[in-house]
């Protein structure tokens, strides 16, 4: 009975199926949207024909035209090229946050689980303590230390995102560690680091990457919010969050294009990242 269940489980785990079959239509659309956004961020600057920072006060708030596809902002800068060149800064930030917090959180969680005892308790308490701080508040505090700019925002958000990842990985790793095969590896005299990195980590990698996808969406919003209040990306660099900030004045003058386009891109990207992440998380939870 248990042996049968184990076989079924093993078959499920090792069956090689293309990723696509796991995804619903929504998941596919989300992945496609993210791919398009990523391509725009990488190749966008090549498509730009107008200098995104070229000021043309005579064209302030002018509507779409053949030269300026989406119109111009308060200083007459081309919105289309600003959105395109802002894509990379808007996406690289969250990407760095996700990578840093995932690596850090996973390393912390795996070592806590393996070493156990007081070390595990200590890590768990620290995680709880950092949890108590809203990420954005921590980021605002961090700018008072590191100064404003993308770098400070990324560092601060990485720190505040680490506990989320660490908590999830710790739970999964604890469960994995209690499985009999880990005892069998221990009794072969393998080091904790080998077992953690070569067995436990690959077996929970699905869950980790799913949660990384999810936190990408949140990090994008948080970084945009920091840029919006002026603590993140600094002018004149184009950035979606900063564009919403500078577009505020336009909204009051009934010229909402700048804020509208930037927020639209943020909403689309975040919605895509969250739907894909949700689906991946559900999938990896069903599996284990």
């Amino acid at each position: 009975m248990t042996a049968l269940a184990a076989i079924a489980e093993a078959r499920r785990r090792t069956r090689k199926r293309p990723l696509g079959r796991h995804l619903s239509i929504l998941g596919w659309c989300a992945a496609a949207v993210l791919a398009v956004v990523a391509l725009l961020a990488i190749f966008g600057p090549l498509l730009v024909t107008v200098d995104p920072n070229a000021v043309d006060l005579s064209g302030a708030y002018s509507g779409p035209s053949p030269e300026h596809l989406l119109g111009q902002d308060a200083s007459g800068r081309d919105l289309f090229s600003r959105l395109l060149s802002g894509a990379s800064t808007s996406l690289v930030g969250p990407l760095l946050v996700v990578v840093a917090s995932t690596v850090l959180g996973t390393a912390l969680a795996l070592s806590a689980v393996w070493i156990g005892g007081w070390f595990d308790s200590a890590i768990a308490r620290v995680i709880d303590a950092v949890f108590a701080f809203p990420g954005l508040l921590l980021a605002i505090l961090a700018t008072s230390i590191f100064g404003t700019g993308l770098q400070a925002a990324v560092i601060a958000l990485s720190i505040s995102y680490t506990p989320y990842i660490a908590r999830i990985v710790r739970g999964a790793a604890l469960r994995e560690r209690s499985l009999p095969y880990v005892a069998a590896l221990r009794v072969q005299g393998l080091r904790g680091t080998s077992i953690s990195l070569r067995h436990i980590l690959p077996n929970i990698a699905g869950l980790i990457s799913a949660n990384a996808t999810l936190s990408f969406g949140f990090a994008l919003i948080d970084l945009a919010a920091l840029s919006f209040i002026g603590l993140g990306v600094q002018a004149p660099t184009a950035d979606w969050g900063a564009m919403i900030g500078s577009g505020m004045a336009g909204i009051l003058q009934l010229e909402p294009q700048e804020a509208l386009w930037a927020s639209l891109l943020i909403v689309i990207t975040v919605a895509a990242a969250n739907s894909l992440g949700d689906e991946l998380v559900k999938r990896s939870e069903n599996r284990s």
């Binding site: 042996a3 184990a6 093993a10 090792t14 095969y181 005299g189 393998l190």
Partner: protein, 353 residues
């Protein structure tokens, strides 16, 4: 001659819901190089815990007293590198369910060569060659193909042979076999057992063999320890255990077995439920189920006493009852209806080799 493995007064307590519960009490035995010691008893009697204490695989927070000496060194005091060395060189363990004890997403080749590559710093090519040799030793002759397969692609018997091959990789001096054949079907059982016994002889390894199967214990083991509720109740030569049991529990186990040349209207099962150590009443843990129990049996746990010829029993009345245990049980026929016997039913179903 000093023994390879000496377990002396081993007691283990595990934290369960905030309080410590005794799972093993006062277990003592010794095992010489090349010898096989059988551990038999119902589930929860402490067989696995004994073996896990030796491999230092007890759950975190376990409280251990007494001593375990391997080749003179205290196993319970091993830390860090010394513990890894002990596990990777001196002792190997074979588990009951090979399926659960392999990482399902790693190939057989990874599993067999990992310890060699990482602990022994053997180059991958060489480790693979050695793995194929080891597979041949356990009777798997298409090793190259097997190395590329996943655990779920192998049958239980085949996978258990792979586990045995893995445990041989380091040429250990002691093999801990925790019911290695229980999860296999009967024909595979005997194959796997034959391989294990042959390799044990060839490699000159000592073996601690846990089983439910009394016949198997008699065939494979030099000496047998019978455990009940976390304590040893009897310890003597396997050959004599069957003809001259020294504890009512062992005798009742013998009686509860079907035999091919004996007709009984109903197998005499042991009445009552098996007990764990922490549920055990004061006095002899078996007393509530024992047909020979007297009031004095319930007063205090009797010590494990020598009965001569390196035979030990934890029964107050062992000397008095010796020789009558089997006869009396047979005479009085079926006691109890077997409905509450739980795991001891498993003993009956296992077919003699």
């Amino acid at each position: 001659m000093s023994a390879l493995l000496e377990v002396d007064g081993l007691s283990v307590q595990l934290p369960v819901a905030g309080e410590f519960r005794t799972v093993l009490q006062d277990v003592s035995f010794s095992l010489e190089a090349g010898q096989t010691l059988g551990l038999v008893g119902e589930s929860g009697s402490g067989k696995s815990m004994t073996v896990r204490s030796i491999a230092r695989l007890l759950p975190p927070g376990a409280r251990t007293t007494g001593s375990i000496r391997f080749d003179g060194a205290s196993v319970l005091d091993l830390r860090g590198d010394a513990l890894r060395k002990f596990r990777s060189r001196d002792v190997s363990m074979i588990f009951q369910d090979p399926r659960a004890h392999t990482n399902p997403v790693r190939k057989i080749g990874d599993f067999l060569t990992e310890a060699m590559r990482i602990n022994g710093k053997v180059p991958p090519r060489e480790a693979e060659r050695r793995a194929v040799e080891l597979l041949a030793e356990v009777g798997i002759h298409d090793g190259e193909r097997r190395l590329k397969q996943f655990p779920h692609e192998l049958s239980g018997g085949l996978l258990q042979r792979v586990m045995i091959a893995a445990s041989l990789a380091v040429k250990p001096r002691l093999i801990l076999a925790d019911e290695p054949t229980t999860a296999l079907d009967v024909t595979t059982q005997s194959e796997v057992m034959a391989i294990l016994a042959r390799l044990q002889r060839e490699y000159g390894m000592a073996m601690l063999f846990i089983t439910h199967d009394l016949e198997l214990a008699a065939a494979v083991c030099d000496r047998t320890v019978v455990m009940y509720a976390g304590a040893m109740v009897e310890h003597q030569d396997s050959s004599r255990l069957h003809t001259d049991p020294l504890h009512p529990y062992s005798a009742a186990l013998m009686q509860a077995r079907p035999e091919i040349d004996r007709r009984v209207p109903r197998l005499p099962a042991i009445p009552g439920h098996p007990t764990s150590a922490f549920e055990a009443p004061d006095g002899c843990a078996f007393a509530p189920r024992c047909r020979f129990a007297e009031d004095a049996c319930r007063a205090a746990l009797p010590p494990l006493e020598s009965m001569g010829d390196a035979a030990y029993s934890r029964c107050r009345r062992a000397a008095e009852l010796r020789g009558h245990l089997l006869a009396t049980a047979e005479h009085s026929g079926g006691l109890g209806d077997g409905a509450g016997v739980g795991d001891s039913a498993g003993l009956e179903e296992e077919v003699a080799r």
